[in-house]
């Protein structure tokens, strides 16, 4: 079948002196000092996984406290610290670095480049991320972690109400990571804009690259809003300014505009790369090209633009004017349209295909269905009156977890099963993978589905305990049991990673018979990625080589 043998040539050949500089060293120093996009990408993922463990433990503690009404397992202060850290961790220290890890690892390979446009800047972004994460967790040892929630509404986050230094650690660590993220975004944009291999036009770009490219513009515009607001809050707290302190003339609502001006694009920042992964994985295991490539790419651009015009749907309960609310209601409803286009295109890709249910594909299909739940429950928040009832309740908690867990996390699991062979040269165990999959799928639904119901019953979010009202105890207990099923899933996953890294089946260059360029080189790829990049004549270079008779270019559309 393989029409093109590539990457099997030994790395040692050719290239010459430059290699010495770029060559990765397998020693610890080699990793720390690395500017190689593959090593940095892997380090991003490892760091994200470590923080995923911490954020997960925090979640379990929260769920134990909530298992029964009037529980005293955690003090209110501890509970509040833990949910603040859980949210901050999962967004800033897990979702962002994990997806960035995929991005910096895969983008250069997918476009046939040797590295990122600015390898050293890439390393800087990563180390700022690590530094920020460590600083955030150091707050536990320095008079207490932050406890004002991951969106730190003022004036609760001001020095009058949060007097520990935890809030300052929160500000500084997000600021440090924010700077790294902006640098990273510039790097991805420059890479995609300038380092594409010849003939890889924008219309031939793999969709993962499309989405991370668009996503980088989102980061570039959204993170500075947060960074500015963080500095203002820090000035308030440390130098006694009054940006967000109503008692002395500031505005509490201003913080919300800034935060969600960043925060809503952020929601898409942590889902677009996941969309990208799904857009790569589903076609490969359906043995068909993505349905409606142009529409999947264009809908991403539409989402990116719209995401800057929807922030105030987080603020419908503030009591701003009807006209204001309606503007944001329209924008928020509109964003459902391009998102729906994606879901339908992914589904259509399955039709007429020849589906192979690898673990990666199973996670991708679960993503499709679970993310749809999160996306649809999101629509109810665009309907202003429904939002007035359900915002800040467990219905919202359920919604956001279907988006982040059902969306980002499931897609990332799919991505890890799919690309692990490329990263390491070994396959993850498919049998452990099936366990991981089913435990995740059951745990996810058990934990979060019932939370919709709790929200509809009137349970507010972020309460450290609750009165013993009918069904509240039982539903919360179910949710807690679900969280432990998820724990089991993650343990199986970690076990799979550990065992497969040592003893996994050899992967070879292209175990899935995939068609984007990263599969045209060895697994793991050599330092400079490719000895020769295969010719790009369409969107699926390796497919075209394997099936010249069916090559995309012959069908006229995918020019």
């Amino acid at each position: 079948m393989k029409g093109y043998e590539l990457g099997e040539t030994a790395v040692g050949a050719a290239v010459g002196g430059e290699r010495a500089v770029w060559a990765p060293h397998e020693s610890l120093l080699g990793w720390v000092a690395s500017v190689d996009h593959k090593q940095i990408g892997i380090m991003y993922m490892v760091a994200a996984f470590a923080f995923f463990g911490l954020g997960g433990i925090e979640a379990l503690l929260l769920r134990i406290q909530l298992a029964v009404p009037h529980n005293n397992f955690l003090s209110p202060e501890t509970f509040n610290e833990l949910f603040t850290m859980h949210g901050t961790t999962m967004i800033f220290l897990v979702a962002m670095p994990l997806l960035t890890g995929f991005t910096v690892y895969l983008v250069p390979l997918m476009i046939g480049a040797r590295d990122m446009a600015f390898p050293r800047l890439n390393a800087m972004s990563f180390w700022l991320q690590v530094f920020g994460g460590v600083m955030l967790y150091f707050s536990f040892f320095a008079r207490g972690a932050p406890n004002a929630g991951w969106f730190s509404y003022a004036p609760l986050s001001e020095s009058a109400y949060s007097f520990g230094s935890g809030q300052d650690y929160w500000i500084l660590s997000l600021l440090v990571m924010g700077i790294g993220t902006v640098a990273g975004a510039i790097n991805v944009i420059a890479t995609v804009a300038t380092l594409r291999v010849r003939a890889m036009t924008m219309r031939r770009l793999p969709l993962f690259v499309w989405m991370t490219f668009v996503n980088s513009f989102l980061m570039l515009m959204a993170l500075p809003i947060l960074n500015a607001a963080l500095v203002m809050l820090l000035i308030d707290r440390q130098l006694h300014a009054h940006f967000f302190t109503p008692a002395s003339g500031g505005s509490a609502i201003l913080w919300q505009h800034y935060f969600w001006g960043f925060g809503h694009p952020e929601v898409y920042i942590v889902i677009l790369p996941a969309f990208g992964m799904i857009s790569e994985i589903i076609p490969v295991f359906a043995r068909k090209p993505i349905f409606g490539y142009e529409f999947v790419a264009a809908s991403t651009v539409a989402i990116a633009f719209l995401s800057f015009a929807v922030w105030a749907h987080h603020m419908f309960a503030v009591g701003l004017s009807d006209v204001f609310n309606l503007f944001f209601a329209v924008a928020s409803m509109s964003i459902a349209v391009p998102t729906g286009v994606k879901v339908f295109n992914w589904t259509a890709t399955l039709y007429g295909g020849r589906l192979r249910f690898t673990t990666a594909m199973m996670f991708a299909l679960a993503f499709l269905v679970m993310f749809t739940i999160g996306g649809l429950s999101g629509v109810s928040f665009a309907v202003v009156p429904i939002d007035w009832q359900l915002t800040d309740t467990y219905y919202l908690v359920a919604h956001l977890h279907y988006v982040f867990f059902g969306g980002t996390v499931l897609a990332s699991f799919a991505g890890i099963y799919y690309w692990f062979p490329k990263l390491t040269g070994r396959m993850l165990s498919e049998s452990l993978g099936k366990w991981h999959f089913w435990l995740s799928f059951i745990g996810l639904n058990l934990t979060f589905f019932v939370q919709h119901v709790l929200g509809m019953m009137g349970m507010p979010r972020r309460v450290f305990t609750y009165p013993d009202l009918p069904y509240w105890g039982a539903l919360n207990m179910l949710s807690t049991v679900g969280a432990f099923v998820l724990l089991a899933a993650v343990v199986v996953f970690a076990w799979n990673l550990g065992v497969s890294l040592k003893h996994g089946e050899e992967a070879g260059d292209n175990p899935w018979d995939a068609w984007t360029l990263e599969w045209a080189t060895s697994s793991p790829p050599p330092v400079d990625n490719f000895t020769r990049v295969p010719p790009v004549r369409g969107r699926r270079p390796l497919w075209d080589l394997a099936h010249p008779e069916l090559a995309d270019e012959l069908q006229g559309r995918a020019a």
Binding site: P76, L156, Y161, I253, G319, R354, F357, P385, Q389
Partner: protein, 310 residues
């Protein structure tokens, strides 16, 4: 279904939302079912079978793209029309109407002022049924959120930004409310109750609340009154007929008539009241009410005084 407060409305304001919510849930449920069925069907129908041919390489269909762009747009347009309608029904404009109540969120209790009659109370709001009252909502510290799921929308109480909210109940009953915006340590116990009563009962309640309690006769209550004034209670609380007139903590004049204590953390009984006075943190760990290290005798006297208004 009865426990699903948001779908079990008790006022025209909440009913408007509940209807829309139910309709939207059905629409969303159908869309979900469609996607799920399509995916499951594909899984069953197109699974790889041994020896199968390579599938046809379909790139897309503009016609289908138009269909699944246009249909959601139409659907959303319809939902939008109802959004506008229900917004006006559930939260009518309050312009040119002076509020009936002033409700102030405090870390972690609700101050309730009846602006027309002058009644002041806390964590328990009485309403005459069938009458729509306008609440002016403020905050004394951080952002809180006033929410009674069965009676209607929630609204943030934001310092420096007063809000206006209608409240109405169709039938007599006790409706649970809660603070819905995270506001610090004891956010969970910033709950309250709305007691809806027939107008005559409500008027009687209002009269009773306005009564200034006489200086109590029995010895322990009288001693309690002295303690109340001597201890710093007066610096934080209001008690009609004494020098206590502050709103750092709840009005205590008719505390004995209230159903719950400390923002819903416990039922209001003589024993929980005594426990509260002895050690507020044993009931609500981070509450802003200090522990005065009172002796058991002092606690009994204070409790007798606070109960004497019953």
């Amino acid at each position: 279904m009865t426990a699903l407060d948001t779908l079990n409305p008790m006022s025209p304001l909440a009913a408007a939302i509940a209807k829309l919510f139910a309709a939207v849930l059905v629409i969303l449920g159908l869309i979900f079912a469609l996607v799920a069925v399509l995916v499951v069907f594909a899984i069953v129908r197109y699974r790889e079978r041994p020896g199968a041919q390579l599938p046809r390489q379909i790139l897309g269909s503009d016609r289908l793209e138009i269909v699944w762009t246009a249909i959601p747009i139409l659907l959303l347009a319809v939902i939008f029309v109802f959004t506008v309608k229900v917004m006006h029904a559930a939260s009518p404009s309050a312009a040119s109407r002076s509020p009936d109540l002033l409700v102030v969120g405090h870390q972690w209790w609700w101050e309730v002022n009846y602006l027309k009659s002058g009644v002041v109370t806390a964590n328990e709001l009485h309403l005459p049924i069938g009458q729509r009252v306008l609440i002016r909502l403020e905050s004394a510290d951080v952002i809180h959120d006033f929410w009674v799921p069965r009676l209607g929308r929630k609204l943030d109480a934001i310092p420096g930004h007063p809000g206006y909210l209608w409240l109405e109940a169709d039938a007599p009953g006790v409706y649970l409310g809660a603070c819905a915006e995270f506001c610090g340590a004891e956010h969970a116990w910033m709950r309250f109750e709305v007691v809806a009563q027939p107008p005559a009962q409500f008027a009687a309640w209002e009269q009773a609340q306005l009564a200034v309690p006489p200086v109590p006769r029995p010895a322990p209550a009288l001693a309690g009154r002295k303690l109340f004034v001597a201890r710093t209670c007066v610096n934080c609380h209001r008690f009609a007929g004494t020098s206590a007139d502050r709103h750092v903590g709840p009005d205590l004049t008719h505390l004995a008539d209230r159903r719950m204590l400390a923002g819903g953390a416990v039922a209001n009984t003589p024993s929980t009241l005594a426990q509260w006075l002895k050690d507020p943190n044993s009931i609500k760990p981070d509450s802003h009410m200090p522990n005065f290290q009172l002796s058991d005798a002092e606690v009994a006297e204070l409790a007798a005084y606070l109960e004497s208004t019953k």
